[in-house]
């Protein structure tokens, strides 16, 4: 029998003592007081800010709203497929029409395929994946558009400022402390380095996206649990300019994924000659050598895709994890004293339909309404109402309907597929009990042609196309466990799509500047912490 190891054994715990800081602790330069602080300028955070600004304007009050974003410019760390359900946009901007929104094109045609090494079976589109009425879009473009709306509404958006620690007063969240910048490799100050800043607010909304660090910290600190731990998939995505046009949205399953890994691919035309394609794989895969980036390169050689991409050019590459646990992985509560959790950071993603953006925005809008009421001092108003709003909304309803679908794939593709089909057929009534899931890192693991640079690419080339220009002298932001044996080091090297981990003669080598903040490492390996603002990828249309 092949050797097995459990990644969790080699993973350092969440450094909670470093993440929770008493407000008033020394070490910060500027201190800024806001009414509402939002961490993360993604769709959830920006929708929250915009809704808050609107409520303030209508209510004749002035609210000082600040949004912190770790990327150097809006959108640079945003990555998704994406096919977007427009309902949240319509609710947030009732005065606008669909044509005004930052979408590329309505989904006209779709196809779902089960791939084999040389062929394909066209499957009927599963009901959960019908995308009629939805739009193909670039999340980067959405975020930039929302950001402009936010700034127009008077919201302060601070790019290049990662939130590194939660500031607390007693059991309440008071704000955040940002990361320092300009440190040298050993963490020392340089001439131009910038000390951390404190931002304090009456309410802090954590909208950090997938595997949000402070969201994790708050939940652990406050003992907020969930039925299942959150599960994650890793998506590696490329943006291609093609000679051949594509007129439909495509999803595939099967090859090249091994039968004991969950996932599939998407191919979306942003316009007929601008294609977004990616492979998404659940991080509970069993084969330690599984490498999502490499599988994506293989996928592109399939007869379904190779002709489409022939003669084209890959113009961007990126990677990001997606919270996949669904309903049973949601934290029991997503609001607390002085804090709310939004979007992906809270786990509001529906994997079977591959949707998260409209849930993120909706959660931000719900939070904004609750925050506004509490700030106004409305009698009985409290942040906990946000949970109520989400729980009685379509967010919870949709997630509940597909609550076990992803989880069924714990048992492998075929068995899982069968169970998933049953769930669809019964409208979610099968099965009755939640599937119990271990955390990805708890799943035991078992212990490929060189890229041609035209159709397939090495990780080095790929990271270059993510726009990553992080300075080489930056201190490493990753917390590695001690004594990582060679087989685990190899596992890390395959796991990381950006080539951060390498197996060298003397053990694990960490090329931290390569990191594109996908967070796969935080799920399975060395812990991720924020580094100076502007580090990481610079996505343009991902």
């Amino acid at each position: 029998m092949a050797e097995r190891f459990v990644p969790a054994r080699y993973q350092p715990p969440l450094p909670l003592e470093k993440l929770i800081l008493q407000d008033g602790s020394e070490g910060a330069g500027d201190r800024m007081e806001l009414d509402v602080l939002i961490v993360g300028a993604g769709p959830a955070g920006l929708a929250c800010a915009i809704e808050l600004a609107k409520l303030a304007k209508v209510g004749g009050t002035e609210l000082n709203i600040g949004v912190l974003e770790k990327a150097e410019a809006l959108g640079e760390h945003s990555l998704s497929g994406a096919v977007v359900n427009p309902r949240a946009f319509r609710e947030l901007f009732p005065e606008l029409k669909d044509a005004d929104f930052p979408f590329r094109a309505p989904v006209a045609r779709e196809a779902v395929y089960l791939l084999t090494a040389g062929g394909r079976w066209r499957l009927p589109t599963p009901p959960t994946m019908h995308n009629k009425g939805c739009y193909v879009a670039s999340l980067c473009e959405i975020v930039r558009w929302l950001g402009a709306k936010a700034e127009e509404a008077g919201v302060n958006v601070f790019t290049g400022f990662p939130a590194a620690q939660l500031l607390v007063r007693g059991q309440a969240v008071a704000g955040v402390r940002t990361a320092a910048a300009g440190l040298d490799r050993d963490g020392g100050r340089t001439a131009s380095s910038m000390v951390p800043n404190d931002l304090v607010a009456k309410v802090t909304a954590l909208a950090e996206g997938t595997r949000g660090l402070l969201a994790q910290a708050w939940c652990q600190w406050q003992g907020v649990s969930s039925n299942n731990p959150q599960l994650f998939a890793l998506g590696v995505k490329e943006l291609w300019e093609t000679k051949q046009p594509l007129d439909r949205v495509i999803h595939t399953m099967g090859w090249p994924l091994p039968s004991d890994a969950f996932g599939g691919s998407f191919v979306y035309p942003l316009d007929p000659h601008l294609i977004a394609l990616g492979l998404v794989v659940g991080l509970d895969y069993k084969d330690a050598g599984l490498d999502v980036h490499v599988l994506l390169q293989r996928l592109k050689q399939h007869p379904l895709l190779r002709p489409l991409l022939a003669g084209g050019e890959m113009i961007e590459w990126g990677a990001k994890t997606i919270p996949e646990g669904g309903f049973y992985s949601l934290p029991q509560r997503r609001a607390g004293d002085g804090v709310v959790l939004l979007g992906d950071a809270a786990g509001f993603v529906d994997v079977p339909s591959l949707k998260g953006i409209h849930y993120a925005m909706q959660s931000g809008m719900f939070a904004a309404r609750v925050i506004f009421r509490t700030l106004k001092g409305a009698v009985g108003a409290e942040l906990m109402e946000y949970d109520g709003m989400v729980n009685t909304s379509y967010i919870a309803k949709d997630l509940y309907r597909t609550r076990n679908m992803r989880l069924a794939f714990r048992d492998g593709f075929y068995l899982g597929g069968l169970q998933a089909a049953l769930m669809t057929l019964t409208g979610g009534r099968f099965p009755n009990e939640p599937y119990r899931m271990p955390a990805d890192a708890e799943v035991a693991r078992r212990s490929g042609e060189p890229p041609d640079g035209k159709l397939t690419f090495s990780k080095v080339d790929a990271v270059f196309k993510s726009g990553n220009a992080t300075r080489d002298t930056i201190p490493s932001h990753l917390i590695v466990g001690r004594d990582v044996p060679a087989e685990v080091a190899r596992f890390y090297a395959h796991m990381c799509p950006a080539g951060v981990y390498e197996v060298a003669a003397d053990g694990l080598r960490v090329n931290a500047p390569n990191c594109v903040d996908c967070k796969a490492t935080d799920v399975l390996g060395p812990r991720w912490t924020p580094r100076e603002g502007g580090s990481g990828p610079k996505y343009k249309r991902m």
């Binding site: 330069g29 500027d30 800024m32 410019a73 302060n156 601070f158 290049g160 400022f161 940002t178 910048a181 300009g182 340089t190 001439a191 131009s192 910038m194 800043n197 931002l199 113009i315 726009g467 220009a469 603002g533 610079k538 343009k540 249309r541």
Partner: protein, 250 residues
């Protein structure tokens, strides 16, 4: 100290170049624009000189399209006091046209120092600073990598082939900044907020057509497939020959 810093909004250094439909300009779809990196050194130097003098003003002047207001705000967030946008849809290819407009704006300013970046990273023109200095009749030192100022006298160091040129000059003067002059500061949070409230004047201008007319913008020839020249020390002579005659780098 009254200091003016002239800045330019340029495509980010990571920009992937696509030729626009007219065959003469950059396709700006998806292009991220930024403050010219060499101008960052100039802004930083202006701020340091004002701080050192204890009092004064740093004004930022930019010739560019309406979107360049964002570029000016970056400089204001670093600490500059006010900005002026000479608004024109297209920045002329002919540096002399740019220089004329900037000189007209700077003329009555009674500046102690007028700072530029030594060149813009889009056109590498390397001339607007000294052109403006000539038009204003002011002394000028270009590509300054080290600067000392004592009252109305200054000493600058600039890199030349094989050494460092040490240059003396009087104030008021025009200087263009090179990498190494200083480490530009990160805009502070408070600076970013304050920048929104600082004065930014927008003046529409009409650049002349200039005497340098763009005919074509094209991508460079494809990088040829690399080749293994040979094995061992024996291949060196051929390598050197190729580097000299084919690649023209020796």
């Amino acid at each position: 100290m009254k200091i003016a810093v002239c800045i330019k909004r340029v495509p980010d250094s990571e920009t992937r170049v696509k030729i626009g439909a007219d065959g003469k300009s950059l396709d700006e779809a998806g292009v991220k624009f930024a403050l010219n990196p060499y101008d960052e050194f100039a802004v930083e130097e202006g701020l340091r000189r004002k701080e050192k003098a204890g009092a004064g003003e740093v004004a930022v002047i930019c010739l560019g399209p309406a979107a360049a207001q964002e570029t000016i705000r970056t400089a204001l967030a670093m600490g500059a006091d006010r900005g002026v946008l000479l608004q024109a849809d297209k920045v002329p290819m002919d540096g002399f046209e740019t220089a004329k407009l900037l000189a007209a704006e700077l003329k009555e300013g009674d500046w102690d120092l007028i700072l530029f970046g030594k060149m813009a990273i889009d056109d590498y023109n390397h001339q607007v600073g000294p052109l403006v200095a000539e038009l204003l009749g002011l002394p000028c030192v270009t590509a300054v990598a080290h600067l000392e100022i004592d009252g109305t006298k200054g000493v600058a160091e600039r890199e030349v082939e094989g050494g460092i040129e040490v240059v003396e000059f009087p104030l008021p003067a025009v200087l263009t900044a090179d990498k190494g002059l200083n480490e530009p500061r990160y805009p502070a949070l408070k600076g970013i907020m304050a920048a929104k409230k600082k004065p930014l004047e927008v003046k529409p201008v009409q650049p002349g057509a200039g005497a340098i007319e763009v005919l074509v913008l094209m991508l460079p020839p494809e990088r040829k497939e690399g080749k293994i020249v040979g094995e061992g020390a024996g291949a060196v002579v051929e390598l050197v020959r190729l580097l000299r005659e084919e690649a023209k780098v020796l």
